[in-house]
């Protein structure tokens, strides 16, 4: 499934980020492919906030739609 369909509080593993530039920026934030993160917040029709430990990043919905994730672990 894709990241935009995730609900708040769910834990997920990022399996694929197609855009190379986004991938590089995400790695810097500590959110690389294969990492397990928590969906901290979903702004209705807006961005998805994911967190790993104390690090939080917000991704636009259009971007979240391109990112493939696995639920649970």
């Amino acid at each position: 499934m894709t990241l935009d369909l995730v609900k708040r509080g769910q834990s997920l593993t990022i399996t694929n980020i197609p855009d190379a530039l986004i991938r590089a920026q995400a790695i810097r934030f500590g959110i690389a492919e294969g990492e397990t993160v928590l969906c901290a917040e979903v702004v209705p029709a807006g961005p998805i906030v994911i967190s790993k430990n104390k690090q939080e990043i917000a991704l636009g919905r259009g971007l979240a739609r391109q990112i493939t994730v696995d639920l649970g672990r």
Partner: protein
């Protein structure tokens, strides 16, 4: 490359002699270049200020608007860099940080102890460039307050560089940091990088440049005349793994604890709570800036100090030497005098307001609220072809449109920059203008206030949507770091406020003087009256305003608040006031902004934007006035009906452009489709 920010011509080697760096800083022959680097929100600026004291020089980095602070530190030179998450070519900040770090003798890397996982990525990247590093583990007190324990010695051992715990705001650990700078050493590279780097460094001569080339940095590769590598992904991945390893080995933190800051941070993101919080914040801003400063403070500074004490004094003084009705007399101390009205406007009216706006802006920045507003606003902004990040230039635009136009460089694509700059020039009133507007609206009652705000908002959304429809290409998505909320440090906020207010005065004053002289000359030559008569069909016939309003618009070409303030002296009905304010808000941005717009966007876009604001301002102003005549007449207009009709017209315009786009067979951008659904 051209020299900028001309410094004294002294016999000493300069940073720009390093082939990477165009920044011109005087560096004595034996001084080391100590570079301060770190992520955003690490307390780096506090560090810089505390280490260097008062003697700070600021240089503009060539080709950008970013100012780089530098100062002597004992026998050495300390150079600040913009806060970045890594060094590469993703944006201006990174490019500058990259070049300054590559030219460094020692890097003092400030990391946030609470966010090691994020911050150590940059640390490891800097270490991989081969430069000697000292790590300042800042906010050590906050980390322990969170129950986070960090094994500093082990971190130092694993990184291979000195690690010093500090609390910058309390000046703790500075002595140890200064001492450590002399024993800074190159650290341990990311595993697997050693051989690769050695080989590449043999080719280009320098490890730092070699690293960036391997990581596919075009600019650095070009300097050496080689092809950029394609190993960024591989190196980043290994570096990330290394950092995760480091964090796992040295950090011990308790399970999740719920703090008030974390809860509030969440509330700010959810529309149901976030929008009221945002509105409340704006309400507080309005109370402080629009009511307290614009009325109480400005009454005192403008009327009592400037108009009653300063102006008679200077008029009397100048009047002794120059006749008041001579050409020079009029220019200096006449109605629009350089020494009378201009000084009163700048110091009596603008300065208190500007200080108020920059104070709030600094609070937003330092508290971590700004990226949360960006996240909340993302949905609305995708509808006009932007993403949430654009909220930052827009909020800054309420401070100063010129400054905001420059910050649109943080937006990722030309398309986004174009839309944002157009909207900034059109629909965002800057603080100086807003203050005058707020003052004038305050006496008119709530209905007219709502009318003003909604008309501007509708214009903003309609024009944004239309631009998003007609410009080709697609916009980028939001990807933003949400730092923890914290209570801003007053000292830091005040310092920022002071710096920015001073910068504003420096930038605005010459333009004010030019404007005042132009208007005085027109008044003397009778040109003003001629223009007033010439544009009467528009001002009187279409906008239903007095002929003298033309003066305000002519002044508005120079500075927006000049124009708005020009309305103050006119006798207007409530409706006329609102229409005049709407028109002057949408009217051209100030001369400084226009210069920047032409510089940033080129002639074609510049003329499109400048001309577009003329057209839209008078069309909208007139439409509102004519609608008011239909719905209730001049004396008692029905605000709700006027707004409904106006919004309807806006809707039709949007549909019209969508249809044209569809008919011409072009693809409607994705973000626009999302809105339609």
């Amino acid at each position: 490359m051209k020299h900028r920010g001309g410094h004294r011509n002294q016999q000493c080697h300069r940073l720009r002699h390093h082939h990477n760096l165009a920044l011109e800083i005087e560096i004595p022959r034996d001084a080391r270049r100590i570079v301060l680097a770190g992520n955003p929100n690490t307390g780096k600026s506090v560090f810089f200020n505390a280490l260097t004291g008062l003697y700070v020089d600021v240089s503009n980095y060539p080709g950008t608007t970013l100012e780089i602070a530098h100062s002597r530190l004992g026998d050495d030179v300390l150079i600040d860099t913009p806060g970045v998450y890594g060094i590469s070519s993703f944006n201006d900040e990174e490019r500058i940080a990259r070049d300054i770090i590559l030219a460094a003798d020692v890097v003092l890397n400030v990391v946030n102890a609470v966010h090691l996982e994020r911050d150590l990525f940059l640390t490891q990247q800097i270490i991989d460039t081969g430069v000697p590093v000292v790590v300042a583990l800042n906010m050590a007190d906050e980390a322990s307050a969170h129950g986070i324990e960090i094994d500093t010695e082990k971190l130092s051992e694993m990184l291979g560089v000195p690690v010093i715990p500090t609390v910058a705001v309390k000046k703790q650990g500075f002595g140890a940091v200064k001492a450590a700078l002399s024993r800074a050493t190159p650290g341990k590279l990311t595993p697997g990088l050693v051989e690769k780097l050695r080989e590449a460094a043999n080719r280009v001569g320098q490890q730092g440049d070699a690293l960036l080339i391997l990581e596919g940095d075009d600019a650095v590769a070009e300097r050496h005349g080689v092809e950029p590598g394609d190993e960024r992904e591989e190196i980043y991945r290994r570096r990330r793994e290394r950092v995760n390893e480091l964090v796992a080995a040295v950090v011990r933190e308790p399970g999740c604890e719920s703090r008030f800051g974390a809860v509030l941070g969440r509330w700010m993101l959810r529309p149901l709570t976030g929008i009221p919080i945002l509105l409340f914040t704006f309400f507080v801003m309005y109370q402080v800036i629009g009511v307290f400063i614009a009325q109480t403070v400005v009454d005192f500074t403008e009327d009592e100090i400037m108009a009653e004490m300063y102006e008679p004094l200077i008029s009397g003084l100048v009047g002794r030497f120059i006749a008041e009705d001579s050409v020079i007399g009029v220019i200096l101390i006449g109605e629009f005098g350089v020494l009378t009205m201009t000084v009163t406007y700048i110091l009596g009216l603008l300065l208190p307001l500007i200080v108020g706006f920059y104070f709030f802006l600094a609070l937003f920045e330092d508290s971590g609220y700004l990226p949360r507003i960006a996240t909340l606003a993302d949905r609305v902004l995708t509808g006009i072809g932007l993403n949430g990040k654009a909220v930052i230039p827009f909020i800054l635009g309420f401070g100063c449109v010129t400054m905001a136009t420059l910050t649109t460089r943080m937006l990722s694509t030309e398309r986004e920059r174009r839309i944002a700059i157009f909207l900034l020039g059109l629909a965002i009133p800057c603080s100086a203008q807003l203050a005058v507007i707020a003052g004038m609206l305050a006496g008119l009652g709530a209905a007219y206030l709502v009318m003003y705000v909604l008309v501007i908002l509708i214009v903003f959304l309609v024009v944004g949507t239309v631009l998003n429809t007609i410009f080709s290409g697609t916009s980028t998505h939001l990807l933003i770091d949400l730092p923890p909320l914290r209570v801003p440090r007053l000292g830091n906020v005040l310092k920022k406020t002071g710096n920015k207010a001073f910068g504003f005065l420096r930038e605005a004053t010459p333009l004010f003087v030019i404007g005042a002289v132009l208007v005085s000359l027109m008044q003397l030559s009778g040109g003003l009256a001629a223009i007033q008569r010439a544009v009467a069909p528009v001002t009187v016939g279409w906008l239903n305003l007095p002929m003298e309003t033309a003066t305000a618009f002519i002044m508005g070409i120079v500075r927006r608040d000049f124009g708005a303030a020009g309305l103050l002296t006119l006798e207007l009905t409530a409706l006329q006031t609102v229409v005049a304010l709407i028109t002057i808000t949408l009217f051209v941005p100030c001369i400084a902004s226009v210069f920047i717009i032409f510089k940033e966007r080129g002639w074609k876009d510049g003329i499109l934007i400048w001309g577009g604001t003329w057209l839209i301002a008078f069309t909208v102003g007139g439409t509102v006035m004519q609608l008011s005549k239909v719905f209730g007449g001049d004396s008692d207009p029905d605000v709700a009906l006027i707004l409904a009709a106006f919004a309807g017209i806006g809707g039709v315009i949007v549909l019209f452009f969508r249809l044209i786009k569809c008919a011409s067979g072009l693809k409607v951008p994705e973000s626009a489709q999302a809105v339609k659904k």
